[in-house]
């Protein structure tokens, strides 16, 4: 994404609340507040597993196929499954049309997401096969890589692929000197720093950590703590979304 062109909007307002100065963000959120998050699994009938994840205006669809026979055959590994990831932004997902061809950024994100997923999927259970993960950004408003990884892990769980834990991601940023959770497009454009984080909360592992900009050591520690809290919340929503799929069937079954 390009840097902040034009006049900089007011991103942080300081308000008095209960005798304390509180930072309010341009969309009315507090510094440590997530955007409204919506998740749904099993949205595609042709894929083995699928999920739709929304972080505010960011909307990502993920589909998983496999484990299936690896094509081309020489890609297959004798002792485990290969994971293939494709992170892609739809041409209509941004304010200005994006060319549909994969950009350098998309190739890189596909790789970092694949590496994050490889750490949790039990690939050794399915030797000589391939697991394909497709992530399509339908609408972009910042934090698409973390929304994509959250969606991918839900889709994998929906496809019945063995994983040590679910993966949840969120980005932390520094806007006007304030550390904020789950930054959106405008904040990202004018931010001093942007740090996407993905974790496997139950394993206590960090699976993806990128940092764009400058943070001091103390700020980094605080930012990680902020991300961890956000990820815990997202993780709970993920589990709810997966459970909901089966609860709905029970209700349908009860009608008859």
């Amino acid at each position: 994404m390009g840097g902040g062109a034009g006049e900089k909007p007011v991103l942080i307002r300081w308000e008095e609340r209960d005798g304390q100065k509180v930072a309010i963000r341009h969309d009315g959120r507090l510094a440590a507040q997530l955007r409204p998050i919506r998740m749904e699994v099993g949205v595609l009938s042709n894929a083995d597993g699928s999920a739709l994840v929304e972080y505010g205006g960011t909307r990502v669809l993920a589909a998983v196929y496999g484990p299936r026979e690896a094509h081309p055959r020489h890609m297959a590994l004798p002792d485990r499954a290969v994971i293939r990831c494709r992170y892609h932004m739809a041409p209509f997902s941004t304010a200005e049309r994006k060319t549909p061809a994969p950009t350098r950024r998309e190739v890189e994100l596909s790789k970092v997401i694949r590496e994050a997923l490889e750490a949790v999927v039990l690939t050794e259970l399915f030797p000589r096969t391939a697991i394909d993960v497709y992530m399509e950004v339908l609408q972009s408003d910042g934090g698409t890589r973390t929304a994509a990884i959250t969606a991918a892990s839900l889709a994998l769980a929906d496809a019945g692929i063995a994983m040590r834990d679910l993966v949840a991601g969120v980005a932390v940023g520094k806007v006007d000197g304030v550390l904020v959770l789950d930054i959106d497009e405008i904040e990202d454009n004018y931010a001093e720093a942007d740090m996407p984080v993905a974790m496997a909360p139950n394993l206590g592992k960090v699976l993806l950590l990128q940092l764009n900009g400058v943070l001091t050591h103390d700020e980094f520690v605080q930012a990680m703590e902020l991300a961890r809290k956000g990820i815990q919340t997202i993780y709970k929503l993920q589990k709810e979304a997966l459970r909901r799929k089966y609860v709905e069937v029970v209700q349908e079954g009860g009608e008859q």
Binding site: D48, G49, G66, P67, R68, E69, P78, V120, L122, L125, F126, P127, R128, T129, A157, D158, A159, G160, I161, A162, M163, R164, D165, L166, A200, P201, N202, L203, K239, L242, R243, Y246, V249, V250, E252, G253, Q256
Partner: protein, 240 residues
């Protein structure tokens, strides 16, 4: 002392903690141990059983997932390709089945004179048994044995392979009930394909709908009774 964190027959998700402590016997590849905690790695129904010696046995029946062959499984396959001395069979799995000529014919076979096409052609469905599968090679099939061979009549219903244990039921309770109530002949393949052979079209439709119902509601309790009721109601409605 072992602590069990879940109720038996409840749904677990990847990363959910199932049990903690010693005296736990794990009977599933889908449970991981970290320290002395046991985690689920797949979406499924958990089973907790207290053994006579006071230990707990925990296992997971997956609710989703592909079919992984196991020696001894009965599968329903579709012949996809013919080689010189073997057939390649699609068994709805990440691994394709191999059926060699020795597992079909009792007599010696000369590929120069005889053609495999005479016995099984592309597009034929077969009921086969998995003889060997060791993860390094593709599963070997056989059609020698009672009830195995080319399928000549009936229809095939395809469902998720992970729902097959529910279609069979405890010691075959569900499939036996289906056969008794409908009078149809049913062969259940472990790979998610079910062969249904009925005296008439109406009964076949009822059985197919029942199987689809089992697939959709596999994780619920009291399913056998609900399906029995469903069949009786449908039979009365259609007058068969």
């Amino acid at each position: 002392m072992a602590r069990i964190h879940v109720q038996s027959r409840s749904i677990v998700l990847p990363g959910d903690i199932i049990a903690e402590g010693n005296d736990i016997v794990v009977e599933s590849p889908f449970i991981e141990r970290k320290g002395n905690q046991y985690y689920a790695t797949i979406t499924g129904l958990v089973n907790v059983q207290q053994l006579e010696n006071g230990k707990y046995k925990i296992s997971i029946i997956p609710l989703e997932g592909a079919y992984i062959p196991k020696p001894g499984d009965i599968v329903i396959g579709l012949v996809k390709d013919i080689g010189l001395t073997h057939w390649e069979v699609d068994i709805a799995s990440p691994y394709k089945g191999i059926l060699t000529i020795q597992e079909v014919l009792d007599r010696p076979f000369n590929p120069a004179v005889d053609s495999l096409k005479k016995y099984l052609d592309v597009g034929d469905y077969i009921v086969a048994k998995v003889v060997a599968f060791d993860r390094a090679r593709d599963p070997l099939l056989t059609i020698k044995g009672k009830g195995l061979g080319r399928i000549v009549e009936g229809s095939i219903v395809e469902i998720k392979p992970s729902r097959i244990p529910r279609v069979i039921g405890k010691k075959g309770s569900m499939v036996n009930m289906l056969m008794n109530e409908s009078g149809c002949e049913i062969v259940v393949g472990q790979n998610g394909r079910i062969l249904v052979n009925c005296p008439n079209k109406d009964l076949e439709e009822i059985v197919v709908l029942s199987i689809k119902k089992i697939e959709a509601e596999a994780h619920t309790t009291g399913l056998t009774e609900r399906v029995r009721e469903f069949i009786r109601r449908e039979k009365a409605r259609r007058g068969v």
